[in-house]
Symmetry: C2
């Protein structure tokens, strides 16, 4: 069976272990770097693959976006080039988002049939149906495909949230019905329900009833506060099977990541580390650091003392500040490598603390370092 | 003595050997990647430093631009951050252009006193004098500084070319008079004279009479054809001492590089490989390849078969074409790494062929591969 999860240690609801996918094993909890169009922005794939902590922890799953790849270069091109991993030069497992996120971000016309977009590239009308999302993802060929879902922005009226749950369930059923690539590709269902715990619980039960290889929580980090988000996660996770992976989509700020792990989440993705990096905002143990500020002009320290990332071992703050100030592309590259490495090390510490039974301490430490709230 | 050149082999006028600079030894002929503002565009310094042929040939000198660094972040900031090499994270020798190229590219008001610019960053008026160019370069602290010179665009009337030679000589004299950092910094004079062989010869003699650690040929590749440029190189080199390094500024297209080596040139710099890369134009043994063309959409070959660069060993043409088509930053990075590596390998072959006495064959091969003329 693919997408088999082996839990090796727990600390309360938190768990760490290994997820077996078609093209390799993934240690969990795991953060998946976002390569929307087949590349993590500002860095080459091999630079992401080479990021490693001193103990050898690396990123093991790369995430890409179906909506973008089906438009450019086209799913059939990715297929002819060997599928997502070989196409992008990524040696391990991959996952594709279904395009459901674009239902949120691009506000298409959503009907029972599907979501109708104007292409962000040339304005062409595209009707993305659950069936088309499956077909395109089977051609793109990631280890994990996601069902097409409806993701409302929050806050939203309860009847809109309920409609999103109903449509997502109907689409999930249709996705399972047309799916053919089962030998080397898993499919994950997506639980919607906004921040209404009761609706989240119900949506989780209805998704589980359909039977998926894994379960994602969608529609979070879309406008709500963390104190609204966490109870929704609790409610959904309580209704999910313990032997299947749980994936919290689009959430990756340090505090939310650690808090979601404490609630039993295994997988994460988020553009935050890479997007912040492109604006010169760096992740550190003490919160965000805006390297473009004048105070860093002649600063000979690395971004963070003791950091093992490729940037901190070679470059000083003053140089990075200069690259940001004159808008050199290498500024984004070096800041992105640092932020990804910092998240990688955080995830490694999360795993270590679950094994040691000290996740509570790590939660307090991360909360204290990031008390100003999630970076925006 | 610094900037000592040891010639180890010759083939006609061509020579290969070692140039000892304050921070390390440089094998010649050498190509110096251009890091205008302290970074090679589209790549991080450590990626350039890591480029290596199978036999271990690497780039050994990084070039940066005084005009840009004196404005951003300021020469005093570079100095406080340890000088150019440590600032940029470059482990070996460095060289700074004086700002003379900006006398050509930004058309300042040139008087006997100096060149008066409006800053490209904020419009501030700057009077760059030969003395200021020395002072700023001594603070920036490269292994080699260049005198401020006057570089006319070609074609130019003979009296303008002669005025540029006169002013360049006067400025060179003033540069030598105020120079103080002699223990770990060499200074190179610059020979002007357009494409008039007689004026080039005279300019070379007058520059040599002043006594520099090395001699550069400036004011070439600024509008003239290669058949006009090469006789000017011949005339200048004939008047230069054989025991001092010769540097052809701003020229780096493959045919001109090989032809200039055959005439006795040791050092090169050029933005061509990196600038072309940013537009998806790749250097190959058979000339230029525009990776953005539709014919490469599903091409599974590397840019060039057998190429040992970081890009060709990992990525296929179809993927690179996609990155260029959707304008991802990593396209520029991967194309830049290929083009720099290709030039590095060309320079390595140049050295090998001089040792073997087969430079003539290499000249014919490069000319045949690039018969369409220099890439523009």
């Amino acid at each position: 069976m693919i997408a088999e999860l082996t839990v090796e240690a727990t600390d309360g609801a938190a768990r760490t272990g290994r997820l077996r996918l078609a093209r390799g094993e993934v240690r969990t909890p795991a953060f998946m770097p976002v390569a929307t169009r087949g590349t993590v922005r500002s860095v080459a794939t091999h630079e992401v693959a080479a990021l490693s902590t001193p103990s050898g922890t690396r990123f093991e799953v790369l995430l890409a976006n179906t909506y973008h790849l089906m438009l450019r270069p086209g799913a059939e091109v990715v297929e002819r080039l060997g599928g997502l991993g070989p196409f992008a030069g990524w040696p391990g497992p991959t996952l594709t988002d279904s395009g459901g996120y674009q239902v949120f971000s691009l506000s298409p016309r959503v009907s029972d049939q599907g979501a109708e977009f104007a292409s962000t590239y040339d304005g062409t009308r595209i009707l993305l149906t659950p069936e088309l999302a499956v077909a395109e993802q089977e051609r793109i060929g990631a280890d994990v495909q996601m069902v097409l879902d409806v993701c409302p922005a929050l806050p939203a009226p309860i009847d809109e949230l309920r409609r999103a749950v109903d449509t997502t369930e109907a689409w999930a059923r249709r996705a399972l019905a047309v799916r053919t690539r089962t030998e080397d590709q898993s499919i994950f269902g997506i639980v919607q329900g906004g921040v209404d715990p009761e609706l989240r619980r119900e949506a989780a039960e209805r998704t589980v009833a359909l039977g998926f290889d894994g379960y994602a929580l969608g529609g979070l980090s879309v406008g709500e506060s963390r104190s609204e988000m966490l109870p929704a996660i609790d409610a959904a996770v309580a209704a999910l099977p313990t032997d299947r992976p749980r994936y919290l989509m689009g959430v990756g700020d340090p505090v939310s990541l650690v808090e979601a792990v404490a609630r039993g989440v295994d997988l994460f993705d988020c553009v935050l580390p890479t997007r912040l990096a492109r604006h010169g905002t760096l992740l550190t143990d003490r919160g965000r650091l805006n390297i473009g500020r004048a105070e860093f002009t002649a600063d000979t320290a690395p971004i963070q003392d003791g950091c093992g990332c490729p940037t901190c071992s070679r470059y000083e703050r003053g140089y990075l500040r200069h690259l940001v100030a004159v808008d050199e592309q290498s500024a984004a590259t070096l800041c992105t490598l640092h932020n990804l490495w910092w998240v990688l090390r955080l995830v490694e510490r999360v795993r270590e603390s679950i094994v040691a039974g000290t996740l509570g301490e790590l939660r307090r430490e991360v909360a204290a370092g990031w008390e100003a709230g999630p970076p925006a």
